[in-house]
Amino acid sequence: MPQGGLLSDAIRRLQTTTEADFRATCVDILSAEVDWASVVRDHLASVTDDSLVDGTRRIFVEGVEPKTLLLHDEPGRFRLVLNHFDKASFLAHQREGRITPHYHHFDFATRVIGGSYHHLLFSNSGDVARPKLALRHRTRDDAGHVYVLPWDEFHCVLAPEPDTMSLQIRSPARCVPNRRPLATTAKELLVARDVALGALDALPPAAVSGQVPEFAQCWL
């Protein structure tokens, strides 16, 4: 199948999957023996500037890493997103104390498609508004790792390798985060896109099956 067809096929499967099967479908898609970095690169390069900016403005969060680029939006159903960890930016955020345990406003499934990071997961004896966290698992996620994470699980990514990339499938929003209006300009988003394309180009070809680490088995 042509590479563009792989992404279209994944989108069609997600369009027709049920809520009950959503996680399993995501993991099955992301675990396929596919060079996802190449697929994502070709797709990202084909998106017009206006479309990229318009879509990415809906998901871009300032002051955090990774940088997020929207690949496909199925409103109310799912989103496909490329995450790009820019090392210099990550370290700057870390120095400013912005790399901390957090949760997301969506469930997600993700596949590391290049690089690696250390991943810490926390148990929470409080709730999302008043968490009482304790480390419960620490792992290193490498290229090819596929995992899911429910929205209310607190976690933290540390020490990404330069230009670590992941392909993420997001569920619909589970809560509404409080966001300030985006100050990032269209030009800055396009620069982020171009930097990500360069990083994807630099990844060695690798069509391997994904692996679900032990910590994520409980959410399948």
Binding site: R95, G97, H104, R130, L135, P177, N178
Partner: protein
């Protein structure tokens, strides 16, 4: 995350994930295994305490 760790968090995490790197780090620093574990616990504590406000992304 700001810590008072006397070792880079990335170096520590790599050592905690790799036995050979752990041995090398302990030898370099003159640490016992307990010293390494103490740094791991300090890193965990600093992460949890670094949450000035709840962070939802």
């Amino acid at each position: 995350m700001k810590t008072d760790l006397d070792v880079d968090a990335e170096v520590l995490l790599e050592a905690l994930n790799d036995g050979e790197k752990a041995k090398a780090l302990m030898a370099e620093r003159g640490w016992t295994e307990d010293d390494l574990v103490a740094r791991a616990e300090a890193l965990n504590k600093s992460l949890v305490e670094s949450m000035a406000s709840v962070n939802v992304v």
